[in-house]
Symmetry: C2
Subunit: 337 residues, 2 copies
DNA sequence: CTGTTAGCGCTTTCAG
DNA sequence: CTGAAAGCGCTAACAG
C-alpha cells in the first residue's frame, strides 16, 4: 500500500490537506485555479482516496451486502446481476455472502455487518431461518434491510417478491388443464414464505377444481438432497402416485425428474412437471419442463433501488411495503415452437 | 451507527482503550481476570469492532474483489461459490464486480481497488481487454492478482485455468468421431486466452484427421448478440455448411441452436454441437448438447486459495505459475442413458 | 478562498 | 500486566 494520499498532494502543491480534499469534491469554495492544479496532479499521480479513511470519518461505507442462500442457481445470479448494475450506477460496492441455507452462517454473517461495514443489506433468507432476532438486531443498529424473494413476513421493511400465490394457483391450474388429476406439491421448507404462498395457491386450485389431494401429496424437502430424493421416490412409488408435480423450486423439479427416470415413469406422458425455474437456456434446453419464470433481474434491480432510495436521502426510513412482480408461465409446448 | 465501541467498553470497565483492545485479541499480555471481564461485556453488548477503523490502522482490509465479465452464467456462479467458501473460511469478505464484457468498466473498477479497498483480486478478464496497463498498475500498487479461467498471459502472476487446448482438441475429435467432416469453431473474442487455446486444439485436431477447414469456419463473435446470430446464420446458410460446431462458450452454442432451428437444420442429425458449458441441470435438460464441463467450483476454490496463500503469509509474493484443471467431456448420449 | 484543528475507532509503540 | 499517546487518511467545523 505504498500509495499517494492527500498529504502527498498537499505537500507537492504547497497547500493544506483540507484544501486539496475540498478541491477534489466540494468545488464551490475553492479557487478555479487551485482546483485545476489539484485535479491535474491527482490525475497525474493516479490519486484514489482511501475508502476506509473516508468511511471511518463519514460513517458511511458506500457498500451494501447481498445475502443469499445459494448462487449456483439462475434466479440468484440474475438477481445479483440486477443488484450490481444499480449499485455500480450509484457508486456503491457490493459484498456478497452465501449462507448455503445455513441459519448459523446467516447469523454470523449478519454479526459482521452490524458495525458499519455496510450501509444496507439486501437479503433472501435461508430456508431454515425461523427466528428473526438477528435480523431485527441489525435493523436496530440502523442498517436498513430489503428482502427479495425469500422474505420475512414479520420484519417491518421493504420486500420485493413474486406473485407467489397466484403463480402457485396458475401452475396447478395448468397441470389440471393438461389432464392431471392427482397433483403433488414439492417445496423446500416449512419456514419459507415463498413455499407457503405457492402452496396456498396450489391448495386453492385443487379445491376450486374439486380434486382430492391426499396429505401425502405435499412433500417438504430439506437441505439434504439424498433425503429429498428418497421422499420424492417414495411419492412416485405409491400405488396412486401423482400424475402431475408442481415443484416450488428448480432443484426439486430436477429431483423429481431423476426419481421418475429411475422408476421408469415417462415424462411428460405419465407425469407432468411444472416448476419455478429461471433457466436462461430454457427455450432450447428444456423440452419437457413447463416453467414459471420469475423476473429475477428486475427483482434484483428493484430491491437495490428500494434500498438506495433510503440511503441516498439522508437516512430516510425504508417503507414497510411489499412490491410484487409477476412471474411468467412458459409452457413446454412453446419451447418447441 | 449508534454503536458500541472500544471506548464504551473501556469506560464501563474502568480500563484503558488499549487494554480492552488487547484483551479482545492479543490475550497473552493481559491478565486472565481482565480478559474474562472484557470478553463478557463485549459479548453482552454485542460488540463488533469497526472494520474500517481497523483496516485504516492496519492497512489491511480482509476483503478481496472478484471481477468477472458476467454472472448469469453457470461457470461464474459456481466459481464464485468456490471463492466465497474459501473466503468465509479465512474470514475474508468478498466484493463482487461485473464488467459486462466492457473494458472501460473493467478499467474504472480496477481504479477503485487501487487504494486499499481490497487486499487482493481474483479476476477473469473481459472479452475485449487487450490492454493490460490497468492490471499492471494495480499489481504495482501491491494488490496481488490471481487470474482464473480468462487469464492474461503476459501478466506475471498466478493463473488458474482449464486444459483449454486439450479440451478443444478432444471436442473436435469427438465431433469427428461422430462423423462430422466439416467442423466450425465459434468463439467470442480474438483477445481471449481461452478462445485462442481452444482454437489451437481445434485446429490441431482438424489437421491430425486431415479435414479441411475453410477460413470461414471460424467465427469470432462479439458482445453483440444480434451480430453473432447473423454471423452464425450466415455460416449455416452456406452451400457447404458445417455438419459440426464446436462452440467455445455456452452462449454461442445457444446461438447456433437458434440459427439452426430457424434454418430448419436438424440437431443432431444434420448438425452436431459441442460446447463448453456448465449446466448444472445438464443431465436432464440437454438431450442434444454434448458439453465440456469445467470444474468451476474447484477453479474458484483454487484461485481463492492461491490468493490467500500470499495474503496470509506476510505479503509473500504470488508465484507466477499456471494451475491447469481438467474439463470433462459429457456426451449427449449419456444424458439419456 | 484557504489553513488549522479535531476527531472517526482502532492498533501499536513506549512507558511505567 | 496496564495506560498514555500517536497516528492510519480523510472530513468538517471554525477561523481567518
Amino acid at each position: 500500500m505504498t500509495n499517494v494520499n492527500l498529504k502527498h498532494l498537499a505537500k507537492e502543491l504547497n497547500l493544506a490537506v483540507s484544501t486539496v480534499s475540498r478541491a477534489l469534491r466540494d468545488s464551490y469554495d475553492i479557487g478555479e485555479e487551485t482546483k485545476r492544479k489539484v485535479m491535474a496532479l491527482a490525475k497525474k499521480l493516479n490519486y484514489e482516496p482511501n475508502p476506509y479513511a473516508s468511511s471511518l470519518r463519514k460513517q458511511k461505507s458506500r457498500t451494501i451486502a447481498v445475502i443469499i442462500p445459494e448462487i449456483a442457481n439462475n434466479f440468484f445470479s440474475l438477481a445479483i446481476n440486477g443488484i450490481e448494475e444499480i449499485a455500480q450506477e450509484k457508486g456503491y460496492h457490493v459484498l456478497i455472502y452465501i449462507t448455503h441455507e445455513d441459519y448459523n452462517k446467516e447469523l454470523s454473517i449478519m454479526r459482521y455487518l452490524q458495525n458499519g461495514r455496510v450501509d444496507g443489506v439486501l437479503m433472501s433468507v435461508s430456508s431454515n431461518t425461523d427466528d428473526i432476532e438477528h435480523i431485527i438486531n441489525l435493523k436496530q443498529r440502523n442498517v436498513p434491510i430489503v428482502f427479495f424473494d425469500r422474505i420475512c413476513e414479520n420484519v417491518e421493511t421493504a420486500k420485493i417478491t413474486t406473485d407467489d400465490y397466484e403463480s402457485g394457483f396458475k401452475a396447478t391450474e395448468h397441470l389440471i388443464q393438461q389432464g392431471c388429476t392427482n397433483i403433488a406439491y414439492l417445496c423446500i421448507s416449512k419456514h419459507l414464505s415463498i413455499g407457503n404462498k405457492r402452496m396456498h395457491g396450489y391448495l386453492d386450485a385443487i379445491k376450486k377444481y374439486k380434486l382430492r389431494s391426499p396429505q401425502t401429496n405435499i412433500v417438504f424437502g430439506s437441505n439434504n438432497h439424498e433425503e429429498n430424493y428418497n421422499k420424492v421416490k417414495k411419492l412416485l412409488s405409491a400405488k396412486n402416485r401423482p400424475d402431475g408435480i408442481f415443484a416450488s423450486v428448480e432443484k426439486l423439479a430436477l429431483t423429481a425428474y431423476h426419481a421418475a427416470h429411475e422408476l421408469d415413469i415417462h415424462i411428460p406422458k405419465q407425469l407432468k412437471i411444472i416448476s419455478f425455474a429461471n433457466l436462461e437456456t430454457a427455450p432450447l434446453l428444456k423440452p419437457s419442463l413447463t416453467t414459471i419464470t420469475q423476473p429475477a433481474f428486475e427483482i434484483g434491480k428493484r430491491a437495490a433501488m428500494t434500498l438506495f432510495r433510503s440511503l441516498d436521502k439522508k437516512n430516510a426510513p425504508i417503507i414497510n411495503e411489499t412490491i410484487i412482480l409477476n412471474a411468467t408461465l412458459i409452457p413446454r409446448e412453446s419451447t418447441r415452437k
